[in-house]
């Protein structure tokens, strides 16, 4: 399985391209919205992860 981070980036990429194609027609607007969405999702997730780091959810679940 790819890393969690790569999956998150792939998810952000899919969603960003989708909404860019859905909401914008002009190329310049598309680039701007894509960057806003993509960076917002990836950087936002990293910031939230960083803020949550001091609060672990508990001991890791044993592997089945």
């Amino acid at each position: 399985m790819p890393s969690h981070f790569l999956l998150m980036v792939l998810y952000a990429l899919l969603v960003s391209v989708f909404f860019t194609a859905l909401w914008r027609r002009e190329r310049r607007d598309q680039v701007r919205l894509f960057l806003q969405l993509f960076l917002g999702l990836v950087v936002g997730a990293l910031v939230v992860a960083w803020l949550m780091f001091p609060f672990p959810s508990g001991p890791p679940t044993p592997a089945p």
């Binding site: 399985m1 999956l7 792939l10 998810y11 969603v15 989708f18 859905l22």
Partner: protein, 136 residues
Amino acid sequence: MSAPERKGASAAEPEGTPDRAWLAAGAALLVPGLGHLLLGRRARALLFAVLVLGALAVDVVLGGPLPYFEEGIINTLLTLASMGVGLPYFVLRMTGYHGEALSLGFEYGKAFIATAGLMNLLLVLDAWDIASGRKE
């Protein structure tokens, strides 16, 4: 009654007729991108199909679930969102695919398939708007 006297005669109607909107929305609901293809947006249709079906494919590759009504409101909502993918969801179900609950990517797959379904539901609305003349 002659044609010009009819209420809502074609001259006064917007470009998109209700029939066309229903057809485009129905097609979009069945197959991702088909609604836009019928409306002549070929490149856009291809892109949307790749995005929605790609997200579904990621779910399958990760061993993610194919949600079906189970106990709880969350599972019901997840199932309805996933069914938004349209025919590919039901085709996958007919093949007997259920996902691998022990797969490390199971939960990630859940996010991808729900997103794929919700994206396609937005495409249905978009196709409706285009066909009814509300959007270019």
